[in-house]
């Protein structure tokens, strides 16, 4: 792979009007009546009837005649030479058809390695050595699931264990080389910088206050309740490869498969059926998928592979794992002036992060957050270790979670150090509404924002000042109560194609709308819902634009044979990109509809105006043609010389990203004996611009908040010094239940995006990004008076207990 030494961030100037100052409201904009159900209506989800009746169709529900099953033998070592794989006993079993090894893949055309999204390479099946625990060794294909499970027990692998390097700091010493297949014998992968180093150093030299803090954003896992899986169905007769796959990006996966396998792209169909949660974990191509497709190619039969949960937790892509050292500077008035950050990114055994290609550290340089400061400089180094590869954008727009955690912690520490109330300190340092469009010191241009409005609203909802009084009273009695704030800025909707691509494919997205003669429609998109409710949201967008009832718009995604090409759903990009494409395609249709209406009404186009669902003659609204009438005419009575039909396609390339934001306030009580943290209240005020479906938005926020709570208090992938995964099942990887998850309270402000056709920004990830630092800030706030400055996440009871005992608190 290329070493991205000394890269700086690659933004180029924005087109005019991509950002602007816009007003903030708290009113959801509704412009269509309920029967149309356009934007702003809390429409019940159109996809739900099948799910609540057990009729969803997930990959494991696909059953094809003659289907075989695949299971995978995995490494018990994190680093070992493979001396021999003896599959003879497995092959001798009744019902076992094939065992696929790295040698077999090599013989099939060097398929034993595959490219990653970050232009690194990753082993599919190893030949010489394994580089992480639970790595795929070989795949067994059998007539039944249970026989395949028996057969993997019979494969004998002779390993020579090697020393493993687990700590990325130690990896930099290059004593153990993870990737000896590379020319350069080093674990260091890349170095990346953003911002202005000289200017930042100057700001620090002049600062009145400087703080420094190290923090680790630990390895976590998306742990969607459905694991990954595939049914591959290759026909030796037609040479067609049909694939059902848990894929958040079916089109991109089809292209990758075509490039890697050499099969012609038109012969590959990828169907991403209902997906049981994705959160970024179903973006990468895992070795299991490749083996499953090869197994079908080899046998000419359908082959199913469904991961076990433990395989999913142990070998699939992780998220986060950033080791951060941050410094913040402030002037004598308590104004933040600069930020200087060094970060080590633990990439595991391959750089298989799911970032846009030019961004090895994703959008991490958004880390100046909601605060106006003079200068910032960020340096990140990627390093190999003997752990599974990954770095997925787990409900996060490419490393924004890490960025927000850091800036919100630093801001809080600075406020406490200066003896200022953390809310007041934030209010003082926010980028002001009149500064938008705001150019950040690391080169981003924030489209719109009103950070004060969101924090004011959160403080009002939770009665912040009263809580501070309660806290003071409790402190007198020795009780530990803390209040934490996080006022985050997100950056989503990748993205503008001048900067954003994945393996060279620009990060646009697409929509295709066809209106049928009876005025009903089908709309297809290049994205793929995994629970976000696209079938409803997109229908509402079409309804908003064309006045067709959302109920009459059938939305389809996920089948590469029918849907237009798109980059898929992750990083909150669906509404900003495909949603916008839907609006733009609808507008193309509307332009044609206007011509047809003019023809039908025998007036000029300039004499017509749009009214919810019809074109009417200006001044005489009785003379009108509804969109349904126009649709019928498009097939029966369209103007001479005009093409029949009413349909359009749009590939939308956003002019800029969108910058959702919010302010969260969390109240915790700490048990000074056991160190347990109880989240008593949590208020989340989100601003995601215009809202398409408030019910869905609220659901997304609740879900994201629980996924933010989880890493703050419970979840971490833990390895021992040999690289063994100690949290490889759901018994030890602690996904919160309804009991641990508090009753979330939500509020909103609305500051539309000036450049998005609908003024929407994308919301799915803000809470996952914004919640963890609010909780940490609350916990530290509860103990600051004791001398506690920082607590690493997950804030397990033992970690809190250790701090309490260290600072003299006992029970």
């Amino acid at each position: 792979m290329t070493h991205l030494d000394d890269r700086t961030e690659p933004h180029s100037p924005l087109p005019e009007g991509a950002s602007a100052q816009v007003a903030t409201t708290d009113e959801i904009r509704i412009r269509t009546p309920e029967k149309v159900c356009g934007m702003g209506h809390p429409m019940k989800r159109k996809e739900d009837p099948r799910f609540i009746q057990g009729k969803g169709r997930y990959v494991d529900d696909v059953k094809l005649p003659g289907m075989l099953y695949m299971d995978i033998v995995r490494s018990p070592y994190a680093h070992a030479k493979i001396k021999k794989i003896d599959a003879s006993a497995a092959l001798a079993m009744d019902g076992v058809l094939a065992v696929i090894t790295g040698e077999d893949l090599k013989a099939a055309g060097d398929l034993h390695w595959m490219p990653t999204l970050m232009s690194d390479t990753q082993m599919v099946l190893p030949i010489e050595k394994v580089a992480y625990y639970a790595q795929e060794i070989c795949a067994v294909v059998a007539t039944e699931r249970y026989i395949a499970a028996d057969a993997i027990e019979k494969v004998v692998v002779d390993y020579e264990p090697l020393e493993a390097v687990v700590d990325p700091h130690l990896a930099l010493e290059d004593k153990v080389i993870v990737r000896d297949d590379k020319e350069k014998k080093t674990n260091h992968i890349w170095h990346w910088e953003a911002g202005d180093k000289a200017a930042t150093d100057r700001v620090f030299a002049e600062a009145a206050h400087v703080i420094e803090q190290t923090m680790h954003i630990p390895r976590i896992h998306v742990s969607s309740i459905e694991t990954c899986g595939m049914v591959a169905n290759y026909s030796k007769v037609t040479e067609q490869m049909q694939i059902y796959m848990t894929s958040q990006a079916p089109h991109a996966h089809r292209t990758v498969f075509a490039l890697v396998s050499g099969l012609p792209e038109q012969k590959i169909q990828i169907i991403s059926p209902d997906i049981g949660g994705g959160f970024g974990g179903k973006v990468p191509v895992y070795p299991g998928y490749v083996c499953c497709a090869v197994a079908s190619l080899v046998t000419g039969k359908p082959v199913k592979w469904i991961e076990d949960r433990s395989e999913n937790l142990q070998a699939d892509s992780f998220a986060r794992d950033y080791h951060i050292t941050a410094e913040m500077a402030a002037d004598a008035n308590g104004k933040i002036t600069g930020l200087r950050v060094k970060t080590l990114a633990d990439c595991g055994a391959a750089d298989a992060a799911a970032n846009p290609s030019k961004f090895p550290a994703g959008l991490y340089s958004i880390c100046t957050g909601s605060y106006d400061m003079k200068a910032a400089h960020i340096a990140v180094d990627g390093v190999y270790t003997n752990k599974p590869p990954g770095g997925v954008a787990y409900r996060c727009s490419f490393r924004v979670t890490e960025a927000v955690h850091m800036i919100e912690r630093m801001t809080d520490i600075m406020a406490h150090d200066l003896g200022e109330d953390p809310a007041d300190f934030r209010l003082k340092n926010f980028i002001r509404p009149d500064q938008f469009p705001y150019k950040s010191p690391t080169g981003w241009e924030y489209d719109s924002g009103n950070y004060k409005a969101a924090l004011d609203e959160a403080m009002k909802l939770i009665d912040y000042r009263a809580l501070r009084e309660e806290q003071a009273a409790k402190r007198e009695r020795g009780e530990l109560m803390g209040i934490g704030i996080s006022s985050f800025t997100e950056v989503v909707g990748a993205g503008p194609s001048r900067d954003f691509d994945i393996l060279g494919i620009k990060m646009f997205d697409s929509a295709e709308i066809r209106i049928h003669p009876t005025g009903k429609a089908i709309a297809r998109f290049g994205t793929k819902s995994q629970g976000q409710g696209h079938e409803t949201t997109y229908a509402q967008i079409v309804a908003e634009e064309l006045g067709l009832p959302a109920a009459d718009v059938q939305v389809e995604e996920g089948d590469t044979d029918t849907a237009p090409y798109g980059l898929g759903t992750y990083a909150s990009r669906s509404t900003p990109t495909a949603g916008a494409a839907g609006a733009m395609a609808a507008r193309k249709i509307k332009a044609k509809a206007k011509k047809i209406a003019a023809h039908l009404l025998e007036v000029g186009e300039e004499d017509l105006e749009w009214n919810v669902d019809k074109f009417q003659v200006k001044g005489s609204p009785d003379q009108a043609k509804t969109i349904q009438e126009i649709a019928f005419a498009a097939y029966t009575n369209h103007p001479q010389g005009m093409e029949a039909g009413l349909e359009a396609t749009d590939y939308y390339d956003p002019p800029n990203l969108t910058f959702p934001f919010g302010s969260y306030i969390c109240v915790v009580d700490i048990d000074s004996g056991t160190g347990e943290v109880h989240v008593r209240r949590f208020v989340a005020v989100d601003d995601c611009g215009n809202i398409i479906n408030p019910l869905i938005v609220e659901g997304q926020i609740h879900g994201g908040l629980t996924q933010g709570l989880a890493p703050a208090l419970f979840e971490e992938i833990v390895y021992d010094e040999n690289g063994q995964n100690l949290t490889g099942t759901l018994a030890d990887y602690l996904v919160p239940t309804a009991v641990e998850s508090p009753k979330w309270e939500t509020g909103r402000t609305i500051t539309p995006s000036p450049h998005h056709p609908l003024g929407a920004k994308g919301v799915g990830e803000s809470p996952t990004v914004g919640a963890p630092p609010a909780i940490v800030n609350a916990v530290v706030d509860a103990m600051w008076h004791l001398g506690v400055r920082h607590v690493e996440i997950p804030m397990t009871p033992q970690r809190i207990w250790a701090q309490l005992r260290e600072h003299g608190v006992t029970d």
Partner: protein
């Protein structure tokens, strides 16, 4: 390997099948009977995606052998709206947006069904404890709690109507 002929009632219908003794009930339901509304989310009895009612009690069907269900009755999500009308819980999950990806939903609904049979008027706290054997990664649980509350109210209304 021993095989057994098991006879049981599934969603009100008598079923007789020969199965391997180690066949898990969840695989029996999904793969032998093709009732794929019951899901699998883990291998440690942790997630509850596989919840079915066994003799009316909510259990994790990944931790029961099909042979153990011989002679008993099994109810899966597919039974709930068999007559074409949604069960109040299904209605509640739809009305209150109690699902996103839908993967945990059948298990949640069946857990909630058993919960409401034992406790027709649960508090928020009781609902949260009642579904604590079922993991949902998408919803953050607020709206699942609301959905179950909705069903509780609806069921109590209809029993009051009947008794009135």
């Amino acid at each position: 390997m021993s095989r057994h002929t098991i006879k049981l009632t599934v969603n009100g219908e008598a079923v007789e099948k020969e199965v391997e003794s180690r066949l898990l009930l969840v695989h029996f339901v999904r793969e032998v009977l093709d009732l794929t509304g019951t899901h699998i989310g883990c291998d440690t009895t942790s997630c509850g995606a596989c919840t079915v009612l066994l003799d009316g009690r909510a259990v994790k069907s990944c931790t029961v052998f099909a042979a153990q269900a011989d002679g008993r009755s099994v109810e899966t999500i597919e039974a709930l709206a068999a007559d074409g009308t949604l069960h109040p819980l299904q209605e509640g999950f739809w009305e209150k947006h109690g699902l996103q990806c839908g993967y945990c939903t059948p298990g949640m609904i069946l857990s909630a069904k058993h919960l409401l049979e034992k406790n027709p008027d649960p508090t928020e706290e009781e609902i949260r404890w009642g579904i604590s054997g079922n993991l949902c990664r998408c919803t953050g649980y607020n709206k699942i709690v609301e959905a179950i509350r909705y069903a509780a109210d609806k069921q109590r209304e209809s029993t009051e109507e009947v008794s009135a």
